[in-house]
C-alpha cells in the first residue's frame, strides 16, 4: 500500500492567518482525499482532489476557505484560510491505491490549534 508523508504534524496559529498542509505520496494515485476531524469527533470529508482539475468539495466546505492544489499524481496541499478557533482540528489526507479492494491509507495528520 501507499505511504504518505504529511506535514506539518502540528501547528499553533494566530486567528486570521492561513496554514498550508502538504501530503506527499510514494506512488501515483488518481484521487486524494482531505478530511477534518474536530476534537472528539469522527472524520468529515472536506474535498476530493484530482490531478488536473478543480477539487470537489463536500457540502459545508468551500474553496475560498479550503483551497486545494494537486499539481501532480503524488502531491497535494490543503490550505486553511483566515483561520478562527473553530478551525482547530486534525486534518488528514488519504489515498486509495488498491482500486477500492483494500483499505485507504492515511497521512499521520496535522493537529491545528488556532488561538
Amino acid at each position: 500500500s501507499a505511504v504518505i508523508s504529511q506535514k506539518p504534524s502540528r501547528d499553533i496559529c494566530q486567528r486570521g492567518t492561513s496554514l498550508t498542509i502538504q501530503c506527499q505520496v510514494d506512488s501515483q494515485v488518481t484521487m486524494m482525499f482531505w478530511y477534518r476531524q474536530q476534537p472528539g469527533q469522527s472524520l468529515t470529508l472536506i474535498a476530493t482532489a484530482n490531478q488536473g482539475s478543480e477539487a470537489t468539495y463536500e457540502s459545508g466546505f468551500v474553496i475560498d476557505k479550503f483551497p486545494i492544489s494537486r499539481p501532480n499524481l503524488t502531491f497535494s496541499t490543503l490550505t486553511v484560510s483566515n483561520m478562527s478557533p473553530e478551525d482547530s482540528s486534525i486534518y488528514l489526507c488519504s489515498v486509495n491505491s488498491g482500486q477500492h479492494l483494500y483499505g485507504y491509507t492515511f497521512g499521520s495528520g496535522t493537529r491545528l490549534t488556532v488561538v
Binding site: 504518505i4 504529511q6 470529508l45 470537489t56 488528514l92 488519504s94 495528520g109
Partner: protein, 111 residues
C-alpha cells in the same frame, strides 16, 4: 445522514478479555472497513469486508457483516494494552470513491 453509528461509544476492558464493537449504517454498501486511530494521529486500516462476505479474520481480529440488518461487528480477541485506541467503521458505497466514517469507539484496555 449516511454516517455509520458505532456502539458502544466507549469500552473499557481488562487485558486478555475480548472486545466487541458494533457498527450500523443506513445505505447499501460495496464494502465496510474498520480503522484504528492512536492518540489523534493518522488512521490505520485494520480490515475490509465486502458486501458479499459474511465473516473475515485477520490475526486477532474478526469482523462480521450482516447486510440485511445493515450492521457489522469487530471482535478483538485476547486484547492487549496496545489495543487502546479509537476504532472507526467506514463504509464505501462506490459513489465517487468516498469513504464515510462512523462516530468512533474509544477502547481502553487495562493492563
Amino acid at each position: 445522514s449516511q454516517q455509520g453509528e458505532e456502539d458502544p461509544q466507549a469500552l473499557s476492558i481488562q487485558e486478555g478479555e475480548n472486545a466487541t464493537m458494533n457498527c450500523s449504517y443506513k445505505t447499501s454498501i460495496n464494502n465496510l472497513q474498520w480503522y484504528r486511530q492512536n492518540s489523534g494521529r493518522g488512521l490505520v486500516h485494520l480490515i475490509l469486508i465486502r458486501s458479499n462476505e459474511r465473516e473475515k479474520h485477520s490475526g486477532r481480529l474478526r469482523v462480521t457483516l450482516d447486510t440485511s440488518k445493515k450492521s457489522s461487528s469487530l471482535l478483538i480477541t485476547a486484547s492487549r494494552a496496545a489495543d487502546t485506541a479509537s476504532y472507526f467503521c467506514a463504509f464505501y458505497t462506490g459513489a465517487n470513491s468516498k469513504l464515510t466514517f462512523g462516530k468512533g469507539i474509544t477502547l481502553s484496555v487495562r493492563p
